[in-house]
Symmetry: C2
Subunit: 405 residues, 2 copies
């Protein structure tokens, strides 16, 4: 039996990926676990990719290692249009296999043993795993329960100690839905500049702020090139999680280093995803129309799930509506263990949610529920949860877990 | 300026990916660099994927983290058919974003500071980079110049010292074309078992042995589960490098650990590639027919390139034909620096090849030339090389490099 490296021994497969595997063993389970909205990719994008598979050999071949030249130019153009800033398509961005691979390149490039990375917590679990994979230590800054607002003062105090290299900002945040205000974004940026840390802005849900304007870190790129890395993805905005396509913006000195990891990780981003992204950038009106439909439909589903959560107070504390992304993160009303509870819900109610504990401090006693599922499915899931919550079995379960704790 | 982690600082973007970027700056350059054969993916496979893009939402969505259940079952079935051994589709294999991502998971899972990994050299350069990315040390076992046969005795002596965790076997080998004999495969397997090392069998070119039977490590899996990891890919056999799809076979204890890295690297393998692989496994006759066409066409191109290399003795020493894969690795007839020579060839002859030095000891004074390009292209490239070799400029170049060395 070979020895397992300590960097891997110390981490887990994210609960977000474990729950679908558990759910797949119970047929008929309704999945509110992994972040896959039920929308299809917009039809003209699918037609464009399908046509390329029939007629364009390029779609099945490697691209240049940082991505297709015309796609990098189109990304740079769209950043200029949207945020008014210049990003050099040749030296300041590359196409990644989803955001996650860009984030892996970031962690392995900037973190090593003895370093620390700041995470607002509950945090997006893969950020935690990637920090550990890079042999660094996560330092958590708990968001305020319920409102999920960050405590920037606490971050500042820790930055003064000097060990923090990266500050992860998942905005809108997964799993809490926090949308960072313009004030919070500017304060964090200023702290990074002052203390020579690098903000890692994971902006996968940038089009999903429901109640207030969204503030990206990208417009700050020219002033904080040495202190900012931004990752974006088409997984959510094109409803194309399976195509594994995103991009990373970083200054040229950083990008050169990150591309070494990218090269060792996937060689080049999957080409069908690059074609789909090119469609979106060349057809901004159609792509934006799809995004608006997603957003308005998701707002409707959010309001529905909010009502349904309030309908089972013996199971969940009433939570505020998330400001962004597509997850509720309600507190369990009865204490207990979130990992055990999530398994129990699959088994007893055939509803799969993600336990909160793996998202770090502040995550325990919560579960994450995705509202990307269609209305009928959300209703059916909550009918099941409600039925289970009203059952003798659930009362017995609550009694048992309360006795343990 | 943020500090760059030493694991990344110590490596380079592989020359295999740098040459295409350099080549893209000189229009009209003929590319014999990166391993992209010019074949299209078989038409029925392209039609299958295209149709799924039009009608099946699943092709744009995440799959389960280890890959689609039906695909894992089909892979297991094809291994059973082809090699007669049982691989549990649930616990002993996962779908990766090309071989490279499976190999990254391997390096990060089994290697850490203080460990060593054995590589037959000239080695596939990304293996070297991945070993370094995992903070371990590569130990090289030079293949015999020209015949490119391994020295198994040297490997045994080093294994006795106890630091070697992984033994990389790229078979057929990139860049040398070495096809390991059944005797060599069995000897290496026995050494791994005896000295408790793990063979990492990278079998990307398993269908491309031209002159003698091919010996996979896979049939040995049942007897050496704790000492063997096998990676395969459809990149070459389906002519689908851009789809980024391959798989890894490992025992369940190892797979569980490797999936943590997979999760942090790409979440799940790109879904369009998984569909293409499913097509190949469900249509083995059609897929095998395409593979036979590739092989017979590549044999023809190999013979052509062999003749053409012999036609410019002032540039290359006559080399034997490679036994497998689709690369020649001839020695430069005039000494010099391979990195400088490769850049010079792009600039002066508009032909892009890969310098040999980055492939490790034994690689310097060689270049790698891919014969996946069509016959006309190979001829045109060698017409250019021949013309340059006959020029005053080339004689001046040779004089200059010989003076330096």
């Amino acid at each position: 039996m070979a020895k397992i490296a300590s960097r891997v021994h110390s981490i887990e497969v994210s609960a977000i990926k474990q729950m679908p595997i558990i759910a797949s063993r119970y047929s008929g389970t309704i999945r509110l676990d992994q972040g896959i909205p039920d929308f299809p990719m917009p039809k003209p994008a699918r037609d464009y990719v399908a046509e390329a598979f029939r007629t364009d050999k390029g779609i099945t071949q490697y691209t240049l290692q940082p991505g297709m030249t015309q796609l990098r130019e189109a990304v740079s153009g769209s950043i200029k249009d949207k945020y008014g800033v210049a990003v050099d398509p040749e030296n300041e961005l590359f196409l990644s296999a989803g955001s996650i691979e860009g984030l892996l390149c970031t962690a392995l490039t900037f973190l090593e043993r003895g370093d620390a990375a700041a995470l607002f917590s509950p945090a997006y679990e893969p950020h935690i795993q990637q920090v550990r994979l890079a042999e660094a230590e996560p330092v958590y800054f708990p968001l305020e329960e319920g409102s999920w607002r960050p405590d920037i003062g606490a971050l500042e105090n820790e930055l003064k100690k000097g060990a923090i290299r990266l500050i992860y900002v998942c905005n809108p945040a997964n799993p809490t839905g926090t949308v960072f205000t313009v004030g919070e974004v500017n304060e964090i940026a200023m702290l990074a500049l002052t203390h020579d840390a690098v903000v890692v802005a994971d902006e996968a849900y940038d089009f999903l702020a429901y109640d207030k304007p969204y503030t990206s870190f990208l417009p700050l790129f020219p002033e904080m090139k040495k202190n900012l890395i931004v990752t974006k993805t088409w997984s959510k905005s094109l409803a194309a999680t399976g195509l594994r396509i995103g991009y990373v913006v970083a200054c040229d000195e950083y990008l050169r280093e990150m591309l070494k990891v990218h090269d060792s990780a996937v060689i080049s981003a999957p080409t069908p995803g690059q074609y789909a992204a090119l469609w979106a950038l060349r057809n901004p009106n159609e792509a934006e129309k799809a995004v608006e439909e997603f957003r308005s439909e998701l707002r409707r589903r959010r309001d529905l799930m909010h009502e349904r959560i309030r309908g089972i107070p013996q199971m969940f504390e009433a939570s505020t509506k998330p400001e962004g992304a597509y997850y509720f993160f309600p507190r369990m009303a009865f204490g207990g263990d979130s990992v055990d509870f999530a398994s129990t819900l699959v088994r007893e109610a055939r509803v799969s949610v993600v336990p909160g504990a793996p998202f770090g401090p502040g995550g325990e006693y919560h579960v994450r529920m995705m509202f990307g599922a269609p209305v009928d499915m959300i209703n059916m899931a909550f009918d099941r949860l409600q039925q289970y919550a009203a059952s003798e079995d659930f009362r017995a379960y609550v009694k048992r877990v309360q006795k343990i704790s």
